[in-house]
């Protein structure tokens, strides 16, 4: 029954092509793209869920053989799990997208955006389903290229073009490592099929370690680990919001899928792999949230939070790998469960938050925080769903973010009470890092939500904002509902992870289930505590309502230290809200500040502006790119003469022939 999956892919492709073919009639073309995306993704979702429920892998091997590889697809439990965010978010992005793009002109660009959105989904689905190295790389390239066109949607703006190029360079830097990785693996195994890889590396720890490092760099750059995260904060603000939601919610998870899949090839892990993953996770998590704090563009802020959440996911996988390497089974199972569940959870709330940011952008014509404010009253649906997303991403109970962080904390505390010193230290490090990330994320989202949705509008555009169209609200409401459901149904969700965790760790399903039961018990009680909390809140609210029914309720101006005419500009701004924290961590967060102080007794003008720039982009990548500029001297070879180009071909051909006959 792999035909369902194949049909899903075909529907997505068909919708995309139809959109392009019909681009002269913008309305029809968009409907075609949307219908293709929704129907295809829904079918894909069905096929993934069925694999998850039955636990049986579904494969399809084509008779047609590519040179060097085969068309071998297989959806096992691990693939099916990672297909959930891909197809799920694709449906909602398509639902949201048409209303989001409703006021855009230009049939060709719009049709292109639908085509590339569907291609992105197809690419991700094929990467996850591929069971052959070469096929994987081909699908990877589809997945890597379509976002370039999505990012370059507004290509008349210079900074959008720059963002697209940064994305393209970063993603190919990672692809280069993956190319080496798969070529080496293929040579070792003598086949490009995934089934052959595991056998090739079984008894060779040194080689396994090399492969692990290659995969970590290659997949990590797609996932957005520090320091290869630089493309995220550039690409996400430029892309349309529903594309950002898909990229941040699903595409970077494909990088995580790559890491987890690679781990299943490599045999028994070394302890230092776990330590390395923890170190990368910790630095991505802390630096991601610190950079996010300093942003005052809502989408950039969300992009940096993706870096943070990838860090959290890697912390979970790192703890799990450490548990596998040291033979501590509960640690392995719960660590992996935490990481994998956070993959799913992050795609839900980050998708929601990006869609919310898009709604703000449409309604208030911008996502610059210092221009917004007071939107909760003007956009009640967007505001309420964004609040749920923010609460979830901070990891507060009783929403889904808390559940995966609970698992991670649980695994860390479990590590802390182990007799082995190194395990205890690893657990403590994860605990402290997670505590710090949690606190900083709370600060960051208090800022983001507070400045955008609370207080009063800081610009006329924000003051005139109105709630966005129904389909957009529906997409956000579905995701918000999922946040709540995945939070309150946590024990069910966690115990349903047994097959996925077993596939990722290589343990038996029974073993995984046994360890997960140890967590679902506490989780059930925790949920009941939250239920009590909700009941108490409801009754306190009832007390308040009854009291207020009897007493006087009036509105007045808030206390302004005696100043009677405050303007919205006097509100605390996003920058001032986080200034103490950014100053505290100035070692990592460097703000460029431009201050024009007031002068004289009657100052006419004064201004202050700060801009946060990514130290990694400035310090690490800019020098590399400058070096690449030297390579532009090679332009003399690109002279435009066709004869010359044919000459290159001949030279290459002859060289290859000689090389081939000598060896």
């Amino acid at each position: 029954m792999v035909m369902v999956f194949a049909t899903a892919i075909l529907l997505l492709l068909f919708g995309g092509f139809l959109a392009v073919v019909l681009c002269a009639r913008s309305g029809v073309s968009q409907v075609a793209g949307q219908v293709g995306a929704i129907s295809g993704s829904a079918l894909g979702l069905v096929s993934a869920i069925r694999v998850l429920l039955t636990g049986k892998a579904e494969g399809m091997s084509s008779v047609w053989h590519m040179p060097g590889g085969s068309l071998h697809f297989q959806i096992d439990v691990l693939s099916a799990f990672f297909l959930l965010p891909v197809f799920g978010l694709s449906i909602l992005a398509a639902l949201y997208g048409r209303s989001y793009l409703a006021d855009r002109k230009g049939g060709y660009a719009l049709a292109g955006s639908w085509f590339h959105l569907n291609m992105l989904t197809v690419g991700m689905a094929l990467v996850i389903a591929a069971h052959d190295g070469l096929l994987f790389l081909l699908a990877w390239e589809i997945m890597a290229l379509s976002p370039f066109f999505l990012v370059a949607f507004d290509d008349q703006k210079a900074e959008v073009r720059k963002a697209a190029w940064i994305y393209l360079s970063a993603t190919h830097l990672g692809t280069a490592f993956l190319l080496i990785f798969f070529v080496l693996l293929g040579r070792l195994a003598g086949t490009s099929d995934f089934d052959g890889y595991a056998a090739a590396l079984r008894d060779n720890p040194a080689l396994s370690s090399t492969m692990f490092l290659l995969a970590l760099i290659g997949f990590g750059s797609k996932a957005g680990i520090v320091p290869t995260h630089v493309w995220l904060p550039e690409a996400h603000p430029a892309a349309p919001s529903h594309a950002s939601a898909l990229m941040s919610g699903a595409m970077i998870k494909v990088g995580i899928y790559g890491v987890v899949r690679t781990l299943t090839f490599l045999g028994a892990p070394e302890p230092w792999w776990g330590w390395l993953l923890i170190a990368i996770g910790a630095s991505s998590g802390v630096l991601g949230v610190l950079f996010a704090l300093a942003q005052h563009d809502l989408k950039r802020l969300l992009a940096y939070h993706s870096v943070e959440n990838i860090g959290i996911i890697l912390l979970g996988i790192g703890i799990g790998v450490l548990g596998l390497a040291e033979g501590i089974r509960p640690l392995a199972v719960i660590g992996f469960a935490a990481g994998l569940l956070h993959v799913l959870n992050h795609s839900i709330f980050k998708g929601l938050l990006f869609l919310g940011a898009g709604a703000v952008q449409r309604a208030a014509h911008g996502v610059e925080l210092e221009e917004l404010g007071g939107l909760l009253k003007r956009m009640p649906w967007t505001g309420a769903t964004f609040l749920i997303g923010a609460t979830a991403i901070v990891g507060l109970p009783p929403l889904n973010g808390f559940v995966s962080e609970f698992l991670l904390f649980y695994a860390s505390f479990f590590a802390v009470v182990q007799p082995a010193v190194n395990i205890a230290v690893a657990g403590l490090i994860v605990l402290v890092v997670m505590g710090l990330i949690g606190g900083l994320a709370a600060a960051c989202f208090a800022k983001a939500f507070g400045v955008v949705f609370l207080g009063s509008p800081r610009s006329p555009e924000a003051g005139e904002a109105r709630e966005v169209a129904r389909p957009m609200c529906a997409a956000m409401a579905i995701l918000a509902l999922l946040c709540v459901v995945f939070g309150l149904a946590a024990p069910t969700v966690v115990s349903a992870l047994d097959r996925v965790v077993a596939a990722a760790t290589g343990l038996t399903i029974g073993a995984a289930r046994d360890q997960l039961t140890a967590v679902t018990g506490p989780l059930t009680i925790a949920i009941s505590v939250f239920a009590v909390c909700i009941v108490i809140a409801a009754s306190v609210w009832a007390v308040r309502s009854r009291r207020l029914a009897l007493a006087a309720v009036r509105t007045a101006q808030v206390w302004g230290c005696g100043y009677p005419k405050p303007t919205p500009k006097m509100q605390y701004t996003a920058s001032s809200f986080v200034q103490p924290l950014t100053t505290q961590f100035h070692l990592f967060v460097r703000n460029r500040e431009v201050l024009v102080p007031p002068e004289g007794y009657f100052p006419a003008s004064a201004s202050y502006s700060s801009e946060s720039s990514d130290p990694f982009l400035r310090g690490l990548f800019a020098p590399v790119f400058r070096w690449f500029d030297y390579l532009s001297h090679l332009e003399i070879f690109q002279h435009g003469l066709v004869h010359g180009y044919v000459l290159y071909l001949v030279i290459t051909l002859v060289a290859l022939l000689i090389w081939g006959s000598v060896w």
Partner: protein, 301 residues
């Protein structure tokens, strides 16, 4: 049903802690001070009053104090009272405790930002700043206790501190207790971190955040603040009072006395110390974290 002693005690006696602190400060300053039960009268009085809302506030402003109170009250279900266990205990309940404390704070901060007033923005900013540093510190302290007792559920941890374990791990216990004392001061915005009595907006943290709340919502806030004081305080006192006799009355009395002594101690600290410069507070919290880290390393092997 001895498990329900802890939340019932907390619900009844929490405001008394505030009363004792205020009385201690008054006595040290040579005044007679308000009666010990004054905080109860305050809460009752605010409940009767009407409400004034800021013009720009939304439903979040009204919901904030309610969520804060509810999350702290729910947290009482998992906080043990010394050797007397909590009504619920399960592995990882300390994570739930941290989550509920954070939820309460998040709600308060958002309610403060809802006023659109720069004073409350300022208070909220400071609150999230110090909370971000206090959270890992709390986890460090709890991890140390977990390692000493080999359990990561609050009730077994506190019941695990029998006299022998206590004496054996005394250095670590002292260090963690100091951390918890500092956290009690930081999380409850007491001197030397914040001055709960001043009304100079520029120097306040918690008080300025709740400046525009009134009526029943202010009552909720005051009561919730007392509960927060109680929760962190009982973590500290439970560690310092090593009575694990199994006798319900003895342990309960010792703990109540311990809480009273803690309140007097906080009052004494408030009377003798000055507020730190805001810039020094992060260093103060870092010091607390260092104490627990040292304790963890000591008991590591």
């Amino acid at each position: 049903m001895s498990g329900f002693v802890s939340p019932v005690c907390a619900l009844i006696f929490a405001p008394l802690l505030v009363g004792i602190i205020n009385r201690t400060k008054a006595v040290v300053a040579g005044r007679r001070g308000p009666p010990l039960v004054q905080p109860y009268w305050d809460v009752a009085k605010y409940l009767q009053r009407g409400v004034v809302y800021g013009e720009v506030t939304s439903w979040l402003f009204r919901l904030g104090p309610v969520v804060n109170l509810a999350s702290l009250a729910a947290a009482l279900l998992i906080v043990p009272f010394g050797g007397l266990g909590a009504p619920l205990n399960f592995s990882g309940d300390l994570i739930v405790l941290a989550g509920l404390l954070a939820l309460g704070r998040f709600a308060t901060v958002l309610a403060a930002l809802d006023t659109g007033s720069s004073f409350e923005g300022m208070g909220a900013s400071r609150e999230v700043h110090f909370a971000a540093l206090a959270e890992p510190t709390l986890f460090l302290a709890l991890a140390t206790l977990a390692r000493v007792t080999g359990s990561f559920s609050l009730t077994p941890i506190y019941q695990g501190f029998t006299a022998t374990v206590w004496v054996h791990a005394l250095p670590a216990v002292v260090l963690v207790a100091m951390t918890l004392l500092i956290l009690e001061l930081v999380e409850n915005n007491r001197i030397p971190v914040d001055d709960p009595t001043t009304h100079l907006e520029l120097t306040m943290i918690h008080e300025v955040m709740v400046l525009d709340h009134s009526g029943p919502e202010l009552a909720f806030i005051h009561y919730a603040a007392a509960l927060r004081l109680w929760i962190l305080g009982s973590l500290l006192v439970g560690l310092v009072v090593p009575f694990r006799s199994g006798s319900f009355w003895l342990e309960g009395t010792a703990m109540l006395l311990g809480m009273a002594v803690l309140a007097v101690a906080i009052g004494a600290i408030e009377s003798t110390m000055a507020r730190y410069q805001l810039i020094r507070v992060p260093q103060f919290i870092l010091g607390a974290a260092t104490l627990s880290a040292v304790a963890f390393i000591i008991i590591l092997v």
